[in-house]
């Protein structure tokens, strides 16, 4: 499946990337599978995405869980806990 992946705030800065397209081989994947795929890219990715308590995810602009299932064409955003207001 093809995913549009976005990074915000500290994640965007640490990874040096705001947006990319990723193709996951499996047809049945959830957010955690995407995270495993990204962590396998190297130490910087591993470190930035390690602590799940400092990681939030939105799928198609709605807050989601790590076990939320993904489908082809989804927009997945990864970011730290929000600090607006």
């Amino acid at each position: 499946m093809l995913l549009n992946v976005l990074y915000f705030a500290r994640l965007r800065e640490n990874l040096g990337l705001a947006q990319e397209q990723i193709t996951l081989q499996s047809t049945r994947s959830c957010v955690s599978d995407l995270l495993d795929y990204l962590r396998a890219r190297g130490p910087q990715w591993q470190a930035t995405l390690a602590a799940e308590k400092n990681l939030r995810v939105a799928v198609n602009q709605d807050l989601a869980r790590f076990e939320t299932a993904l489908k082809d064409g989804d927009e997945v955003a990864l970011f730290p806990p929000v600090t607006g207001g």
Binding site: A9, Q61, G84
Partner: protein
């Protein structure tokens, strides 16, 4: 329900007037204004940059405001959140709720702020005397939002 995300500042009198326009049944308005403080976590702040996730922001704020309108008897809800570069004492956010009576308006306004603080995709980066850094989320904000969970 009105939701705006903008770089420009907002004027309280103007916004509250618009909110109440043609609503003579409104007896109570509760407004929250969030401001840039010149200190945070002990460091002096010279500047703040607010980043957001544009495709999600409007949707998230509208959903929070809608939940408030479903839970409490209120007539009108306004949320304005600024993004971009801000200075100490600048206005960041306005949440205003208008209704017949004050109790529901107070609850709805505080609920929207607590949810906004934990669910709306904004991130603050501060320029401080110790350098630039991303503001840490506060566990007290999670606790404030959790109070509203319905059993």
């Amino acid at each position: 329900m009105r939701v705006r995300v903008q770089e420009a500042d907002f004027d309280l009198t103007t916004e509250i007037s618009l909110l109440r326009q043609a609503r003579p049944d409104v007896g109570a308005v509760v407004a929250f204004i969030g401001l840039v403080r010149d200190v945070n976590a002990g460091a002096s702040v010279s500047e703040l940059t607010l980043e957001h996730y544009p495709a999600m922001t409007q949707k998230a704020l509208a959903s929070i405001a809608e939940q408030a309108q479903q839970r409490w008897e209120v007539d009108e809800v306004l949320v304005i959140h600024r993004v971009g570069r801000l200075l100490p004492m600048d206005q960041i956010v306005l949440v205003a709720v208008a209704g017949a009576h004050r109790g529901p308006a107070f609850h709805a306004c505080e609920f929207i702020m607590d949810y906004l603080k934990t669910q709306a995709p904004f991130w603050k980066k501060e320029q401080t005397s110790d350098g630039a850094h991303w503001v840490e989320a506060r566990s007290s904000d999670d606790a404030a939002a959790a109070r509203w969970e319905q059993s």
